[in-house]
Subunit: 399 residues, 2 copies
């Protein structure tokens, strides 16, 4: 499919809807001048459970694939291994698999080619001597001050901040070299880390890379997603009625476009998904009476929302239906794959979901250090996962 | 020889002349109660060139060996590898060998058994995956603040201090586990790093160790040895007349014992060397007239010095003669060993010594990044070595 686009169209698709690109001219150089494949990576920590917030970066990755980019997804298991008390090794391995299933089936659902999609486990190379030697080298050329500054938007600057928070940005730089990529993709919250990578890699003899940044997209519930409100996250496997119910609870101020999570979801997920599936952007809003309003660009929808032509109450069910449609093939794949089902139950064993059921105590031994916390409910695991995700400094969109 | 001492005598010899021991009761426990071998390590960065200042820790190590301790000398080459611009890899390897020759022959010169002496190159295990995994683990349980505090006496707290300064203390802790030792020995300037090791290792499931600390000994020239005064260092291979000449330039205030480098050298090197060689401490001072004064303990010598019975002018030649005697068997071994001679010329090629000789430019290519600096004289290499040694946070006595 990517080959049906001209080099110029591919470059335009790669650059579309991004907030910022560092060294964008190198994209043109590789694709138009050198006429070779662009190789890019996106990293994600495999500690939690992917939810609909992940659709934002994944839809952009879908566009990269459509544009013929070779895309490497780094499943960053090492960070979880390092803190085995919070996420036992068995779970982390299964979760990495689960992420792979989710990302792959979502990309298939929007019908982009996945022959240039690769998954790489961090542990497959990050413990190697050569990698570690380079990591130590980086510590000799990067100052505490600079590394701290790099992580300042992603890592909490607490008094007892752990050293790992200063090391992970260096690993994120080194991953660019060891994954053999031309570019790294992430949220704009990664900007300072990307800048550090650009400065630091040449100091140990490696070239600096292109960096592409998604904007920070507000969550469906306005502002930051809260781990203590598990209901607010829409799971990829939520059945249609649950999706509808959760979207009803979503928060959106009438007529306000700025910081509106519903509109952002249409812009960064639903319209691009329509474009990839049907060849053009498409989003339908059913009105109380008469024909549905059909949108093919976000500007028109934003105008209508600002002018109260569509209200939060009409927008929510429209998003719910589009999302249900997007999730349907993913859930169908899940229902048909015994392997994925088994993986899902191993990656997220019942104890995580129903901690108040007496039986879970029998499984307590699988969670060293967690046993005592089980009665606290599902937050325990989720809060831990959140922390780890923050530590990894990965770009995590809010739902 | 160690076996001729009772367990209690061995414990006393181990504890002798140290400034502080953390968990000293464990020494008694291992040697007297468990009646097993005590295993200890001392680390040294192999970037510079050992001089007589090294005699202070090495004489203490000689006592450990005499007391039956299994002694591991960590030749810390990794830190030099990491900064290859300053000390090319070929040199570092040869220098590690040179350190081994020097330390071994000094220990032989004071006639202690060396069957329990082991040399370990840092690079032989510090790049291994298991080690590196544990190092990353440590970064997740030690805060920036604590690691910075740990290095505060050894690493300069500059604004652009490199991250490596925060990582090396963790490596020094981990080395205890990977070298399989019961104890680490170092200067008292390492105290905060040792404390960090005691706190951090149990957090990743390893036991804390015993820590033995030498006092900081003033140099022969009073205060800190300066790298820009190469003359102030007495080299192990300096011929007798050079030793005498350098000692003549040594600085010592008459009647002042406190902070007196000459007296410290007698206390920590010459008297212990006498005890090891002759069975009892021995140091002779030739007076202008009459019989020489014979000292078998430092207190008497300190009294005589304070009361002006002996002056700096009589003490200096006495130290020179004792040092010449101590160096004689080392230099003899060097003269008889073609292997050591070849090693020495590879480890410290002429360019390091005589940078103003035109010929050295031909060898410029062996010093990447150093070429431009050659005309500056020998300081270039020495200053670089000093910096590396500081980075390693090793205990380095002043000469």
């Amino acid at each position: 499919m990517g080959s049906q686009l001209s080099p110029e169209e591919r470059v335009a698709l790669i650059k579309k809807n991004l907030q910022e690109i560092l060294q964008p001219e190198l994209i043109d150089d590789i694709i138009i001048k050198q006429q070779r494949e662009l190789v890019m990576y996106w990293g994600t920590a495999t500690t939690g459970r992917p939810h609909c917030g992940y659709f934002v970066p994944i839809l952009k990755i879908a566009e990269f694939l459509k544009a013929g980019v070779r895309m490497k997804i780094l499943l960053a298991d090492v960070h979880a291994f390092l803190d085995a008390m919070k996420a036992p090794i068995e779970l982390v391995e299964e979760r990495a698999k689960y992420y792979k299933f989710c990302i792959t089936s979502l990309l298939q659902a929007v019908q982009v080619p996945i022959d240039k999609l690769e998954f790489v486990l961090g542990s497959s190379y990050q413990y190697n001597s050569a990698y570690m030697r380079d990591l130590l080298k980086l510590t000799t050329v990067v100052s505490e001050h600079d590394s701290k500054k790099a992580g300042s938007e992603v890592v909490k600057q607490e008094k007892d901040a752990k050293l790992s928070g200063l090391i992970y940005p260096l690993m994120q730089a080194l991953d660019e070299e060891y994954l053999g990529v031309d570019a790294q993709f992430g949220g704009v919250d990664q900007r300072k880390i990307f800048t550090l990578a650009i400065e630091a890699l040449p100091r140990i003899g490696y070239r600096d890379r292109i960096h592409l940044m998604n904007p920070m997209v507000p969550g469906l519930h306005g502002g930051k997603m809260s781990a203590s409100e598990p209901d607010s996250k829409i799971d990829l496997l939520d059945p249609p009625d649950v999706v509808r119910k959760k979207l009803k609870k979503a928060y959106a101020e009438p007529k306000v476009v700025e910081g509106n999570g519903l509109i952002a979801f249409v812009k960064y997920v639903l319209l691009p998904a329509g474009a990839l599936k049907h060849g053009e952007p498409y989003f339908a809003v059913q009105q109380r009476e008469g024909e549905p309003l059909i949108y093919t660009d976000i500007e028109k929808l934003q105008d209508d929302y600002a002018n109260d032509v569509i209200s939060p109450q009409t927008l929510k069910p429209a998003i719910a239906e589009a999302l249900v449609e997007l999730l349907a093939p993913i859930q169908k794949t899940f229902q048909e794959s015994k392997e994925w089902q088994e993986n899902e139950s191993k990656a997220y064993p019942p104890a995580d979901k129903k901690p108040k059921v007496k039986k879970v105590r029998d499984k307590g031994s699988r969670y060293p250090g967690e046993k005592e916390k089980l009665p606290d409910g599902p937050e325990t695991d989720e809060v831990a996962a959140e922390k780890l995700e923050k530590m990894k400094l990965e770009s995590k969109p809010t739902e």
